[in-house]
Amino acid sequence: MLDSRLFHLIKKEFIQLTRDKRLIGAVIIAPILQLIIFGYVATTDVRDIPTVVLDFNRTSASREFTETFANTGYFSINYYVSNFEEEKALLNSGKVKAAINIPQDFAKDIKAGRSAEVQFVVDGANSNSASIILGYIQGITFDYSMKVLKDRFRNIGNVEDKINIINAKVRVFHNQTLSSTNYMIPGIIAMLLTLITAVLTSISIVKEKEYGTLEQLIVTPVKPYELMVSKMAPYIILSLIDVVLVMLVAVFWFKVPILGSIPLLFALISIFLVTNLGLGLYISTISANMQQTVLSVVFIMIPSMLLSGFIFPIANMPAVIQPITYLIPMRYFLTIVRGIFLKGIGIEYLWKDALLLSLLGGLIFTMAARKFRKKLE
């Protein structure tokens, strides 16, 4: 019977897989460990910015001003220095990322109703953190100024009551705490899935090629599709186990909410898995040895990870590059996973992404299967 042959082939793959304890450990334990570490690491939140103060004024007013910065929680004042050279050394060594320079006449100017100019230095090496820090500086300085203004006009007619600013009353949808972990974890899940499925399938096929056992299998009456299905079956099951494990860690350890439908999530994850298996199969057909396999995976994965919107929002990319991102399966998958996790939306919003992911996945898989068959025949 045909089916029993397929069954035995799949069994062979499973036996091979379970024999290698280290590989099993790597496939089960590594993703969990990685998710835990990355979950903590992957944060773009800026807090406790190490700061140095160079206070030429040394009055209660200047101290109050710098304390305002510390009290917000965004800045932590770790150093007080007395000259520019020390400040520069701290910035150069990377021990501080921001500096507050208070001029000598700070308190006098404020008291006289003149403007005091406070100079700030921000380490711009990391442009993203720097622009956030600049925003905080402007905000805190402004709030402090408003306080001073109100004090100044306390006893002058009804002016004090008229000095009000337009407040932004901000309401946040979908991720109220604005935690970047909630946003990153679905992305990390996508990345881990891609790595495990694409890498392991391509490796397992190339390995047989290198040892010459693939040729032995070809001379047997095994059909190419049977060979293909049997090679992939264990990895489909393993990656589904991984999905469940990783999801449990995300929900119970990191408290990432899954607001949408879990069956829908799994259905769409399966499509993504097939896409990645196709990718792995394709890489295996174009690679002659392990080095080529690894480099091809890295060469394909890193750009697609970077262009998928995982870390860098697609909307910020130049208009010429944005069309390229439509060719990356992870792009659709990320929209889907984030949508289901954080927004709780269903297929009525996600059908376009699901459709495109299926089309792309089907295309990649057929192309790979064809190439694989041609290689074998």
Binding site: Y40, G113, S115, G124, S127, Y211
Partner: protein
């Protein structure tokens, strides 16, 4: 004296590499593709945030405010609407990230100096974009309020009316940005790409080449000859050192010539530090090859110990100072952390060994430790 056998081994390994054109090509194409991606495509800079506007007041003042939002370049009005329900739809379909809601009577309150609120609803699912957008909104509102307040003070309090805005406001922040004044992401990312490429090359590719020989049994043939273990090791690693240097040159060349990334420090120091880093990374590759008996294990071990930490724990993608304290402690074990700090220091800050010696020292220690452990393991596998 007996002639050293390092050279023939190097030649043999080199032939292997050159014959495998695709591997060689990818080792050079990878950094270039990444540099081009980062240079042209990837940026943290957030601009043109799509906004849904619901202006129920629609007075000159609110139109002026909306104009301020648009002319800042950070926001584009994707749609105008009167109902909240339709505004929310834009969020769910991802067509807009923010709703600006101006209630009726807003301009009246502002002009009479009462507290007034502009309601902002933001899609928080991308936390970073949300934080930056809120920052922008607050900045624009502050500037707008400042002008109104100063007008109030001039008319009501009889303060010297000829004084300019900056002279009346108690404190003005004058921020300056050092090291990367235009806040270009590219300048920050080039050092990261160099360290990642070296890590992949040294840690993964070398270990695969050694484990491959082990698996095919050709390693035993080499051992049976009169070649000494250290000759075998150095001979096998030398070609990768050469490729590594070519990659460093390539990265530096492309980023300086094509993307105008500045190198403020000494190029000589850059190459010395790269050599130290490569020494350690190749040692690590060696160590992986002695620990892994099969290539697939070497790949997983290699990816887990070299690629991912150098990507995520080196400060390249996510700033170390934002990580939790325990993970910050872990980063001290990641050699790419030191190398990245060094490269960034040389590229952007133009600092020399006077500031970089602690990181350099750690890199040296790492290298010595790796080579020591690897040669011990290597000897044991050979015996």
């Amino acid at each position: 004296m007996k002639k050293s056998k390092i050279w023939p081994i190097t030649k043999k390994e080199f032939l292997h590499i050159v014959r495998d054109t695709r591997t060689l090509l990818i080792t050079f194409a990878l950094p270039v593709v990444m540099l081009i991606l980062y240079g042209y495509a990837l940026t943290f800079d957030i601009k043109n945030i799509p906004v849904v506007l619901r202006d129920m007041d629609n007075k000159p003042l609110t139109r002026q405010l909306v104009e301020k939002f648009k002319s800042s370049g950070y926001f584009v009005v994707a749609a105008r609407t009167d109902s909240f329900a339709s505004a929310e739809k834009y969020f769910l379909s991802g067509k807009a990230n923010m709703i600006i809601n101006i209630d009726q009577g807003f301009s009246g309150r502002v002009l009479s100096g009462r507290t007034s609120e502009l309601q902002i609803i933001v899609d928080g699912s991308d936390a970073n974009t949300a934080v930056v957008s809120i920052n922008y909104i607050n900045g624009i509102l502050r500037d707008f309020s400042k002008n109104i307040i100063l007008k109030t003070i001039r008319t009501s309090a009889g303060v010297n009316s000829r004084a300019g805005a900056d002279e009346l406001f108690p404190i003005n922040a004058k921020p300056r940005v050092w090291y990367n004044p235009e806040l270009k992401s590219m300048n920050f990312l080039v050092p990261g790409i160099i360290s990642m490429v070296l890590m992949i090359l040294g840690g993964l590719i070398t270990s695969l080449s050694i484990v491959g020989e082990k698996a095919k049994g050709t390693m035993e043939q080499l051992i049976a000859t009169s070649i000494k273990p250290y000759e075998l090791m150095i001979g096998k690693l030398l070609p990768y050192v050469l490729i590594g240097f070519c990659d460093v040159l390539l990265c530096v060349g492309v980023s300086v010539i094509v993307f105008n990334v500045p190198i403020k420090g000494s190029i000589f120091l850059l190459f010395v530090e790269s050599a130290i880093f490569m020494f350690g990374v190749l040692g690590m590759g060696m160590l992986i090859s002695t620990l892994a008996d099969r290539q697939e294990n070497a790949i997983i071990l290699g990816a887990f110990t070299t690629m991912l930490p150098s990507l995520l724990l080196s400060g390249f993608m996510f700033p170390i100072e934002n990580m939790p304290k325990i993970i910050q402690a872990v980063t001290y074990l990641v050699p790419a952390r030191y190398f990245f700090t060094i490269l960034r220091g040389i590229f952007l800050k133009g600092i020399g060994i006077a500031y970089l010696w602690p990181d350099t020292l750690m890199l040296c220690l790492f290298g010595v430790l790796m080579v020591f452990l690897a040669s011990r393991g290597f000897k044991r596998t050979l015996d």
